[in-house]
Point group: D2
Chain length 239, copies 4
Amino acid sequence: MKIIVGKNLEEMSTIAAQHVLSYMYQDRRVNLAITGGTTPEKMYEILVPQVKNQTCFSNVHYYNFDEIPYKKEDREGVTISDLRRYYLDPANIAEENIHALNQYNYKEQDQRIKNDGGLDMIILGIGADGHYCGNLPGTTSFGDMTTRVECDQRLKDRILPEFNYEEEHVPDYYITMGPKSIMMAKNLVLIASGTKKAEIIQRILQGKVEESIPASILTMHPNLTIILDEEAASLINYK
Amino acid sequence: MKIIVGKNLEEMSTIAAQHVLSYMYQDRRVNLAITGGTTPEKMYEILVPQVKNQTCFSNVHYYNFDEIPYKKEDREGVTISDLRRYYLDPANIAEENIHALNQYNYKEQDQRIKNDGGLDMIILGIGADGHYCGNLPGTTSFGDMTTRVECDQRLKDRILPEFNYEEEHVPDYYITMGPKSIMMAKNLVLIASGTKKAEIIQRILQGKVEESIPASILTMHPNLTIILDEEAASLINYK
Amino acid sequence: MKIIVGKNLEEMSTIAAQHVLSYMYQDRRVNLAITGGTTPEKMYEILVPQVKNQTCFSNVHYYNFDEIPYKKEDREGVTISDLRRYYLDPANIAEENIHALNQYNYKEQDQRIKNDGGLDMIILGIGADGHYCGNLPGTTSFGDMTTRVECDQRLKDRILPEFNYEEEHVPDYYITMGPKSIMMAKNLVLIASGTKKAEIIQRILQGKVEESIPASILTMHPNLTIILDEEAASLINYK
Amino acid sequence: MKIIVGKNLEEMSTIAAQHVLSYMYQDRRVNLAITGGTTPEKMYEILVPQVKNQTCFSNVHYYNFDEIPYKKEDREGVTISDLRRYYLDPANIAEENIHALNQYNYKEQDQRIKNDGGLDMIILGIGADGHYCGNLPGTTSFGDMTTRVECDQRLKDRILPEFNYEEEHVPDYYITMGPKSIMMAKNLVLIASGTKKAEIIQRILQGKVEESIPASILTMHPNLTIILDEEAASLINYK
């Protein structure tokens, strides 16, 4: 495990962008699973001008690792829409390099990734409750591969903000790569920013590995890099 | 994860020996942690004539991943003694390529391995109770690195056979690389033979990942190979 | 560079077979280019029973690196026919895992291999004149990728034995991966046996790197393993 | 081979800096051989603030690949002095991570690098005459490992500017890793900037591989990345 700490969100995002780039420079097909959410927005802002229209990155393929479908409308889900908005569209990534996971193809996701040569890297955020991807406490077990999670009312309330609080869009289930799917990647990069993430970072680094803290399992991966800003790192000793 | 099944113990041991050799052929320092116990005896028998006095393998370094010290006598522990008897001595491995873990240096084991470049491969057996190395049910947690395990009477009874049932030798503690230490290796190879291992193999492949079945965590490693004979594979579908 | 010396052809072939197997054990698509000729016959004999009908090797794909087409008949060329006879057929390799290079597709060979993820390993023989694959002295330059070599009378005389001395079959050209194509592989394994190879082995290890000795360029590859018997190694110092 | 083209020296230097960083992020000992000269000055300017005092890069070790000793004074040579001035000093690299090659230890350089685990990456400039490191046309052969090159008057005239045209400092010989030493690295990165490099870039990509153009051999490496600005790329087709 390697821990890298930038002074602030800006510096953390620069370091994270460099990590993503470092995989893209390989001279062979590269498969990356990238994360939505708010933490990586700055990172994508830094990446876009460096990636846009660069033919030398035509070897890079993108995957999303979870998806929340819209309930009523037949449109792409929340995650891939976010990824398109913040990165894939402004960076002008070719459609053939985008491999969307959704409610129709999730059962083939693990085999598809294996056939494609495996994921070289997954870049992940972490929630204050220890969730990552769609692996929220109480939803998946460590041994799960890509799966469909049924949403009870508690979960529905939780993802409501993703739909601008319009309840009619909130689905009865979502899709996520499970812990075992995630652990099969060759490299994991976990990013976190801000004081509200300091406790969970401390927890996964110093506490027990258990399913109630889903991200605790990530510390068992042989190639994990954790990129933080100083606030998120404020409760750990990293020097 | 890759599962390879040989017809019987002989064929399984041949395949396992080839796996060990496949790491040794690298043209750089190679660090292997190898296992004692009865399962690999045949494997070492196959390896010894191929390795003995071959200068082309001077790049290979050996580590043990657990140790049971003798209580009364100041001699090397049970594990390294087994490894010497079955492999290191007959294969004439140079002493400078042997890195014994013991009760005196176990606190430095994880850092030492890291400084040496990490373990390229650990070859492990599995117990019918799901233990591997010294990670017996109830002794270590998933997040443990190399550690000392105190032996209560139950544990003492259990390791008594290792000392030819001479109670005065049974120690109050033993040393083991913990689950997290093991998971940091680049590659894991798990070997099992015989019908008495069929149930635990089925269990770790199909059941939950939980500390009461220590070896269940191994299935979360991105580079795990399981080598079985047909009896050990009799309850799983591997074709 | 790593040099491994077996006592005789039998031991050399066993070591070579283990090298081939060591690549096959990966848990991902593996691309191997394998060699015809007489040197590897024993190696294939050892490999066949270990590979035949093993579902765990369905990830392994095979390529030939040169081809001599038949002039008059529309049948597969000399190299792939040899590979089928000595290995692919007896090992029962699925047709979809065999990627034949021939006179019709050779212009796409380099791009095809790149798209498939690159060659993990090429196992090569060497001629007493320093040739390897179809790179005979005077036919290709170091910088050549896969190419078609026109045969003058000297070359025709030379490949005549491949056609049982039936001149009407000897073609006006053959196909070969050039030196640069070969050097792009991740790993190279060179095998040689017998006293008649001792001089060329000494030459490529101690002499100049130049096009008149085509195999001299192979010593510039960062991952080259040379597997010899004692006779082929008799003029070098390898201990 | 991968070719990456930045608009100008600034963008090329940014891309090159990211390449260097991408190796440094590994969680294990990393060995880099870095280049002096004028081409990388901007790159080091970009690197320094990102590397300075970052404990997460304490795993990175630095090597120089050539050295011109001072004739009269007993001080460090031209290359390592340049590297210290432009990068090692301002980035505050620990002395124990700096492995200087010089006239006293050059015979051990290749074995030392091998013992250290090999070079992960060499970043190289190229001269308009096709030289790289101290491999000037007519000085070394492709098969040379690290060596001492005697300076005739022509060579002395050539390196005179390195000594501010003070002839009394110009030595009778210099040290360089030879072509074979360089090719043994796991990855090569070649950087070039400006129209005066356009012809040699075209030459090594399209012309013969021959010793009179030393850098032509680099195109035979399986992991070569070429980073150019648009001027240096103006005679090649890279889109």
